[in-house]
């Protein structure tokens, strides 16, 4: 437990020293979303129809870009290999890194999302659904993404390889979440969607930390 908290506080400290790591994915999120009115059409009817999909795809992509940073700098300066010598279980270190990743990426995205929803003319009930869906599903993204990040750390392949590994895994989250937002926009009841997203989160929590710590160990030993 102490290992977990220690890791989280260290990672947050690094992020505080270098706030760009937190701000950049957010800015990226905003920019990608604002490309769509430019590339497709500025009219409200069109935009509200595509809004859930666009916002969610943008959220996926900005998470994706940040996965790379999850382990890379620790790998490069050798701190990752030091972590395997910790007195606490290694999986707690990994969980700490996943939690701090979510605090730095998923959480701000969720908090920012209503604003972007408004930019795309999403009505208020839709905004609530949007934020809830992000709060509930971005932890799953961080968990699944950590596996990809762990597998590719040290491969100098940029974010693209991680993207290929984890995007297929994100498909269910995307489908459920956008359906939830659409239901919300139409004023429907989306408790069922939330339960399903919760179930996905539970599955990911069960599997990912184990898989990631195995993955990181493998990446270190080569």
């Amino acid at each position: 437990m102490k290992t977990l908290l220690m890791t989280i506080s260290r990672d947050l400290k690094v992020a505080y020293r270098n706030p760009a790591d937190v701000i950049n994915p957010l800015v990226f999120f905003v920019i990608v979303i604002s490309l769509f009115p430019l590339g497709i059409s500025p009219s409200a009817d069109v935009l509200v129809g595509i809004a859930p999909g666009v916002i969610w795809v943008a959220a996926l992509l900005s998470c994706l870009l940040s996965f790379e940073l999850m382990f890379r700098s620790d790998y490069e300066d050798g701190s990752l290999e030091q972590m395997t010598f910790g007195s606490g279980p290694f999986i707690l270190v990994i969980m700490g890194k996943i939690v701090s990743h979510w605090i730095m990426t998923g959480l701000p995205l969720a908090l920012l999302s209503p604003l972007l929803g408004m930019m795309l003319f999403v009505p208020p009930p839709g905004l609530t659904a949007l934020m809830l869906s992000l709060l509930l599903a971005t932890p799953t993204l961080s968990l699944l993404g950590s596996v990809g990040a762990g597998l590719t750390v040290g491969l100098r392949k940029g974010g693209v390889l991680v993207a290929i590994l984890v995007l297929p895994l994100f498909v269910p989250v995307l489908i459920l979440a956008t359906a939830m937002v659409q239901t919300g926009i139409q004023g429907g009841d989306y408790t069922g969607h939330m339960l399903w997203l919760g179930a996905l989160l539970a599955i990911a929590t069960g599997i990912s930390p184990l898989a990631t710590s195995a993955a990181v160990r493998i990446s270190l030993s080569h």
Binding site: K13, V14, R17, S73, D77, G78, S79, Q82
Partner: protein, 194 residues
């Protein structure tokens, strides 16, 4: 404490070592020698559990993990010397007192750099932050891969003294260096390559 039996490692079709067996007890120091590319780093990484593509057996009888210093500096550029050292030691030792951290930094001649972020340090200073762990650790086995690289002459002397103390106090030392080594304790030597 350490028992190695029939260790064989082959990388890229090149046999680095074959059927290597040795054992090392408390208060013993082993220096791994050999020219560049003979497999010294690979051997130490195997012993540290960081490389697994080998055959043979490695047995440690240890309560805690060994302390490993590798080619990489092992410090985060964005954190200060104190923060780095605190985190690195806390990870392994559980908890470290701030005073102890300051004292360790002073030992490696980084007084005045406690709150400088490691990214704005010179090569040698960054390495020193990592090596300051030698003054904090309770690990009984040390695995040091070229700890002296980038360190200046007086720094090397201080490190040698610390290693000496460690071995005399019953610690185990595994060391690679291409430089001259002046330890008072007995140092066994293992030569790799032809």
């Amino acid at each position: 404490m350490l028992n190695v039996r029939n260790l064989t490692c082959i990388r890229d079709e090149r046999v680095l070592f074959e059927n290597l067996s040795f054992s090392l007890g408390a208060g013993e120091a082993l220096r791994v020698e050999g020219s560049n590319g003979t497999g010294k780093t690979t051997l130490l990484r195997i012993l540290a559990g960081l490389y697994e593509d080998y055959e043979g057996e490695v047995d440690w009888a240890l309560d805690e993990f060994p302390l490993y210093v590798g080619h990489k500096p092992g410090v985060k550029d964005l954190l200060t010397a104190t923060e780095n050292l605190t985190w690195l030691s806390a990870l392994q030792e559980g908890q470290v007192a701030p005073d102890a951290v300051r004292a360790a930094l002073a030992q490696v001649n980084l007084r005045g750099f406690e709150d400088v972020s490691c990214g704005s340090m010179s090569e040698g200073q960054r390495k020193r932050v990592n090596l300051a762990r030698l003054y904090l650790t309770r690990a009984s086995a040390w695995i040091l891969d070229e700890p002296f690289s980038a360190i200046d002459v007086s720094g090397i002397a201080a490190l040698e003294e610390r290693m000496n103390d460690h071995v005399l106090a019953g610690g185990l030392l595994l060391l690679i260096t291409h430089q001259q080594l002046q330890l008072d304790c007995a140092v066994r030597s293992l030569r790799l390559g032809v």
